[in-house]
Amino acid sequence: MRASTELVATAVSSPASFDFETLFRQHYARLTRVIARIIFEPGRAEELAVEAFWKLWRTPKVHGDAAPGWLHRTAVRLALDELRRRARRARYERVTSLVRQPKTPDELFSAGEEQGRVRAVLASMTPRQSELLVLRSDGLSYDELARVLSINPVSIGALLKRAREAFRKEYVKRYGEQS
């Protein structure tokens, strides 16, 4: 197997192949911003954006027109995974309440803030529902959502409705209606 950097270089230099670098330069900044909205930490957002492109490179079947949508979904998914991982880690920390744990800058920033609440709720929801809400919030139309998430377009409205209900229910359960 060739080294991946060779593969990237080969792809970039081959006009007949998937133009990976152009795609990267077109979408990298937007993906980073989307991820940063979810996890807040800009440095980590850049890493996850690179991770999304890395996954794209290793998934040849989506090279082509479907790549931007696939990237968008993957980026959101990576960010939500990160959010859930942090939530799990926070849980480990709470498990041992007598163990001292320094707060991360993110925690310090978001403590008590609306963003922190929204992130906590998103982290607790099913991945599909969180993805739907975040992608919709990021401006995707119903058709785009259907394409990106491989969902029947006629189902999008109902699924979004259920996702919103789940979000609100969890939010109110945790923080109350008026928060």
Partner: protein, 313 residues
């Protein structure tokens, strides 16, 4: 329609999601591209491991924070069950750091994680052979890393501060022994072997760990006062302190919305933290003689987690 409840709910949710305003991100595509190209040269892999190390470190604190005498398998879970009903953290935020840290353990040195190439190397570094699920149980081959021994300690206890904290919770009649002034408890834990699989699954296992206290130190009494400081009632604190004296441990705390479940695995009892349906990631703790295991998974339900635990020799 203005009165449409769906519309109202949609607006309500959207308003909250919109609070995730764009972070001030200066995404540098050139740097990102260079980063992507470096991946195969190992830099990104090391970074990923550094991130993994941070995760392992957080979990490691759990491992090392549980005083775990050899051959005390059942007792470990007694501790966990005790902790599940604790409500200590609710009051912890009101306490000065110096008081919290007199009863809690922090790591004295930075965590270091070493990526190893195989089980044999992990065994050489950790001093025990990690038990991993047989091929086919989890996808792919695990990436292994080892966290060496880590020393944790409490901050030196200041009696005047502890008395103030006790007074604040209405326990000013409690006597804090004068000889405790400056007391520090130390624990040494690890090594930990971390096996990272695809799909956000990690299997962690730690060797036994040792806790040191001053000779003849009444650990149970110390913990009783700790529980009082953290807001438990005198009776509860006394009961817990006695149990701690017989079986040193840390109290566990789970917020009300957290799901915690006692489950049975092949080697005995285990504790599952998280939604059993696997929708938000779970963490399964169990132990075997001389070893504490933790499975951390992003998308794994209770049945799958138990099956995984049972597959580990």
């Amino acid at each position: 329609m203005a009165n449409n409840p769906d519309s109202h709910e949609s607006q309500w949710v959207d308003e909250r999601l919109n609070s995730l305003a764009d972070a001030n991100v200066e995404a540098d595509a050139t740097r990102g591209w260079a980063e992507l190209r470096r991946r195969d040269r190992g830099a990104a892999r090391r970074r990923r491991w550094a991130w993994g190390a941070a995760t392992a470190g957080a979990v490691g604190l759990v491992l090392f924070a549980l005083p775990w005498p050899r051959a005390a398998a059942q007792r470990l879970w007694d501790r966990l069950v005790l902790g599940r009903v604790a409500v200590i953290q609710a009051n912890r935020h009101d306490l000065p750091d110096s008081v919290v840290e007199a009863f809690t353990m922090g790591d004295r040195q930075p965590w270091t994680t070493t990526v190893v190439k195989d089980v044999a190397e992990a065994e050489r570094m950790a001093g025990f052979r990690p038990s991993l699920p047989p091929p086919g149980v989890l996808s792919g081959t695990p990436q292994l890393s080892v966290v060496p021994k880590v020393v944790f300690s409490t901050r030196p206890l200041k009696i005047v501060e502890i008395k103030q904290a006790l007074a604040a919770v209405g326990a000013s009649d409690i006597t804090v022994p004068g000889e405790w002034e400056g007391t520090t408890l130390t624990a040494e834990g690890g090594p930990v072997v971390v096996a990272t699989y695809q799909n956000d699954v990690e299997v962690m296992q730690s060797a036994a760990f040792k806790m040191t206290t001053p000779s003849g130190f009444p650990f149970g009494r110390f913990m009783e006062i700790g529980f009082l400081v953290f807001g438990r009632s005198p009776n509860e604190a006394r009961d817990l302190g006695q149990k701690f004296a017989a079986n040193p441990a840390l109290v566990l705390h789970f917020p009300e919305h957290e799901k915690v479940l006692d489950v049975t695995v092949r080697s005995g009892q285990a504790v599952l933290v998280g939604n059993p349906d696997g929708s938000e990631g779970i963490c399964l703790f169990w132990n075997a003689p001389g070893r504490l295991y933790i499975v951390s998974a992003g998308k794994m339900n209770q049945e799958q987690a138990v099956r995984l635990a049972n597959a580990i020799p």
